[in-house]
């Protein structure tokens, strides 16, 4: 198992490199000159050169990339063009909100998706199944941010059960933290719940027809036990795969849902950075997001190995 993790960690390196080259060269294509944005129209020629010099923009592309890469490896992602904030600090400061949202939605979608999928898969064709399948189809068509608006106007504005906006860090108050991310996580988790429910349903239907399920029944194990122990573990295998795909969807979705609930996460950071053409910030955000995605995918791979012994390296 350790060797598998090591291998996967190593495999991440080239992918990260490619991502960095891509974002770096894309951002080099930016049409407007960031220096103009910084000093405004009335800057003198010397000022202009000075800023260029300070930002290292007078260097050739490759030198800039190599320089950036070397520093990135030591964990230094540079400073923002616009305020002397360290990119790393800015991103890390915003990360907890976005991650709380994302993982909250992962939890919700696993719970909802599993429950609905198992209920539907146990009796294909029953009204439970038809309701769940119908719900999943609708769920996948609802934009997460719209669902967020609806949730906010019902549960926050009208009923006042949850705060409509803002994020409370976990370290400040766990209870308030939970309240502040409940609605956004629900909004975000809807479509993934639907995707998981569909997967679990079809996996469950397939697994329940397997010989080993019949053999377990023949051994006199109760239906409950057969479903919850023997069938579910096998039906979980595809769920893990879905989850590893969905993580990018969820992280991306979080950027948007954050806007509905006025949560200062990576989303608003990225939008501001794009508006200001803040190159180091954009690069840093992309790189860290990709890192998060890869770590999550590594985790799902390990999980996959745990529930599916055939996938384990021998």
């Amino acid at each position: 198992m350790l060797r598998l993790i090591g291998q996967r960690l190593l495999a991440m390196v080239p992918l990260l490199l490619i991502v960095s080259v891509m974002t770096f060269s894309f951002t080099a294509l930016l049409p407007s000159d960031p220096v103009d944005l910084i000093i405004g129209d009335r800057g003198s020629e010397e000022q202009y050169e000075m800023v260029r010099e300070r930002l290292g923009l007078n260097q050739p592309f490759l030198t800039r990339y190599a320089d950036w890469l070397l520093r990135a490896m030591t964990g230094d992602l540079g400073t923002s063009f616009f305020n002397s904030v360290q990119v790393k600090d800015a991103v890390l400061q915003r990360m907890p909100a976005t991650l709380s949202l994302t993982f909250g939605s992962v939890l919700i979608s696993i719970t909802v998706g599993l429950a609905a999928g198992v209920a539907a898969g146990l009796r294909p064709g029953s009204w439970v199944d038809r309701t769940a399948t119908f719900g999943a189809t609708i769920g996948q068509a609802i934009p997460n941010f719209w669902f967020g608006i609806i949730l906010a106007s019902v549960f926050a504005v009208s009923l006042r059960w949850f705060p409509a906006t803002g994020y409370v860090p976990l370290t400040d108050s766990p209870m308030e933290w939970l309240r502040s991310i409940t609605l956004p996580a629900l909004a975000l988790g809807l479509s993934t719940s639907a995707a998981i429910a569909r997967q679990v349903r079809s996996a469950m239907v397939g697994v329940l027809q397997q010989d080993y399920i019949r053999a377990a029944r023949a051994q006199g194990l109760s239906s409950r036990r057969v479903v919850l122990k023997h069938a579910l573990k096998n039906a979980l295998v595809p769920v893990v795969t879905v989850l590893s795909f969905q993580i990018t969807v969820l992280l991306g979705g979080a950027l948007i849902v954050e806007q509905v609930f006025a949560i200062n996460g990576i989303g608003s950071l990225a939008i501001t950075a794009v508006r200001q053409q803040d190159i180091p910030m954009i690069q840093g955000i992309v790189l860290i997001l990709v890192l998060v995605v890869m770590l999550v995918q590594l985790a799902t791979d390990i999980l996959y190995g745990l529930i599916n012994p055939k996938a384990r390296p021998t």
Partner: protein
């Protein structure tokens, strides 16, 4: 739904009651009214009009982005699929990298370069979704190339490249269409998202996303504002997705072999007089009386698969249930345990295990009886063990649940059992997963599990059929040894008379859902009384000669629902006479047969 959308988009100017941009600040944020059906927004603009104009974007946006994605993705995918090698490697790594970045983030970065606005945003989404088309095109090329080159090795003529091109264009269309509908749905959602965060369509232009953006800011004042554009998006995406589902299904159906037409006339079971009930005998471990099992195939009338099934097995005895596939022997075995699936039901009969009728038990008592009193070994050991648990765990689980053993005791007993079924290094093998064992070893484990609670009856359903010939004999020997030790009765279901002869004391021959002959093994082989038995015996490959088994019984087994009302074997029987058209009862005392001419015929014994 989609047509309405298209109509609105094309004729927006004529349909809308108001100019979508006309402001009327006095009447801002109104609820629905007669003048403004869906109310007004923060600047007093008519929501319905804006919604209709927004539909224009809902058509243009996905069309642009999807079109671009196809135009970029498919050619590159085809190219790298053909070219392979280095090109393929580099492009695929780039695709992997793009896919690992959250899609919205990719779009945001591209928009950062190009600037905001509808068309630029759609360009960004086009690039983003082109990866899906690229992969699709590439995989079609790769699969088709494999197939075409294999075939063209035999067919000389047109160059393989030309054939390949034709194949690719034929095969790429269906998945492409499905992928297009998926992409259109995804673009709709993404466009709304981007416009919502203010980097897609720019105000004051009306798009569903920007409408939601202003709705979100005025959530407290006018919650209704969010409803119309949201419903519009959901309904549109739903319509597109459903269209995709329908397309996928119809394409899928084109591939599948259509089921052959429904059988014209089906013969229902004519109620027959059941064989006279057997007198209970103190030695009986199992007594089955008049078992009848019906199956209802999807959308068709119920048909019998097993009728008038009666037999007994004494303690410590092995009865072979022999028949061709489709004779109902497996469903009989499952029926005894109440393990028949949906659409199958037992309509008659009793299954007396010592003094309890298994068919009369409620669910909980039946669950209790399974495993403890009667257990089963299945045909394919590699599929009858759960792939996600160790084999030791699966045996120990039964011991814990059924016998109430502690974890420790269950583990110890498990290792004893694994040792008993002849597996070397039992403690180590207990921690193996089923896929790590050979078929023979896995079957030994399945046997150990079945016997873990020392049942009175063991049902073995073709337990050696899936195994290697050399292993078969070992497993048969194991069954014999274990029967001596545990003393259980066995019902041995098999299609193989030779196997049955090896292990059974008596044999019941099944044909079309009923037993046609029951006799001790030696008597059955030396003096078959039923023409079907004689046919089976002569079809056996005999001795070392290895000659093809001749003669074979002509014709084939009729499917359930197509059985004749008289002797079910009549159509294939060389001795059939007019009298055989009437239902035939079991006759005889120590051995039983179901043939009107049983007494007069003298049939060929086994060689």
């Amino acid at each position: 739904m989609l047509l309405t959308l298209l109509f609105c988009a094309l004729f927006a100017e004529w349909v809308t009651p108001y100019d979508p941009l006309q402001q009327d600040l006095i009447n801002a944020l109104q609820g629905p009214s007669v003048e403004h059906w869906l109310g007004t927004d923060d600047l007093g603009r008519d929501v319905l009009s804006r919604l209709i104009f927004g539909s224009r974007i809902a058509v243009i946006a996905p069309a642009e982005a999807t079109g671009l994605a196809v135009l970029i993705g498919v050619p590159i995918g085809l190219f790298i699929g053909f070219r392979g090698g280095w090109w393929d490697w580099v492009v695929m790594r780039v695709v992997e990298a793009v896919v690992s970045i959250p899609g919205i983030m990719v779009a945001i970065v591209i928009i950062a370069i190009l600037g905001t606005g509808l068309h630029r945003a759609m360009f960004a989404l086009g690039i983003l979704y082109s990866t899906a088309f690229l992969r699709l095109a590439r995989s079609v090329v790769l699969t088709e190339r494999e197939e075409v080159y294999v075939k063209s090795a035999r067919v000389i003529g047109a160059g393989p490249t030309r054939i390949l091109l034709r194949h690719i264009f034929l095969n790429i269309a269906p998945p492409l269409i499905v992928q297009v509908t998926l992409t259109v749905g995804a673009v709709l959602l993404a466009e709304a998202g981007l416009s919502f965060i203010g980097i897609g369509v720019q105000p004051p232009q009306a798009s569903w996303g920007t409408m939601l953006n202003s709705a979100a800011s005025f959530m407290e004042l006018s919650p209704f504002l969010a409803v119309p554009p949201g419903i519009a998006i959901v309904a549109t995406v739903l319509a597109v997705n459903l269209l995709g589902d329908v397309l996928r299904d119809s394409i899928g159906r084109g591939v599948r072999v259509p089921s052959t037409g429904a059988p014209a006339q089906r013969m229902l079971a004519v109620p027959r007089k059941a064989t006279t009930p057997m007198a209970p005998h103190p030695d009986d471990a199992l007594r089955v009386e008049g078992l009848e099992i019906m199956v209802s195939p999807k959308g068709e009338a119920e048909v019998p698969v097993v009728t008038d099934m009666s037999f007994r097995i004494a303690k410590g005895e092995t009865l072979g249930l022999v028949g061709e596939s489709g004779s109902g022997k497996t469903v009989t075995g499952l029926g005894l345990m109440g393990l028949i699936g949906t659409g199958v039901r037992i309509t008659n009969g009793r299954v007396m295990l010592e003094n309890t009728n298994l068919l009369g038990l409620d669910r909980r008592d039946l669950e209790k009886a399974r495993g403890n009193d009667v257990a089963m070994v299945f045909q394919d050991p590699t599929t009858s063990l759960n792939p996600t648990y160790t084999v030791g765990n699966q045996i120990a689980e039964v011991l814990r649940i059924k016998q109430g053993l502690s974890h420790r005791a269950a583990r110890d007993r498990t290792i004893e059992l694994i040792d008993r079924v002849g597996i070397p290094r039992p403690a180590q093998q207990a921690d193996a997963y089923p896929h790590e064992l050979s078929g023979g070893m896995a079957q030994r484990i399945a046997i150990a599990r079945a016997l873990s609670c020392t049942p009175k009856l063991l049902i073995a359903d073709e337990p050696t059929t899936a195994l290697d010939v050399t292993v078969q004999q070992e497993i048969l020997d194991l069954f014999r040894d274990l029967q001596d030790e545990f003393g259980m009765a066995m019902l041995f279901v098999t299609h193989d008379l030779a196997v049955a002869a090896d292990i059974c004391d008596r044999i019941a021959v099944m044909y079309c859902g009923e037993i046609v002959e029951t006799a001790p093994v030696d008597a059955l082989f030396a003096d078959p009384r039923h023409p079907y038995t004689a046919g089976l015996l002569s079809a056996m490959p005999h001795g070392q000669s290895g000659k093809p088994p001749l003669p074979v019984i002509r014709g084939s087994v009729p499917a359930p629902g197509h059985w004749p009302t008289g002797c079910r074997f009549a159509a294939r029987c060389p001795y059939a006479i007019d009298a055989c058209a009437k239902p035939v009862q079991m006759t005889g005392t120590d051995r039983l047969e179901r043939c009107t001419r049983a007494d007069e015929l003298s049939l060929e014994p086994a060689k």
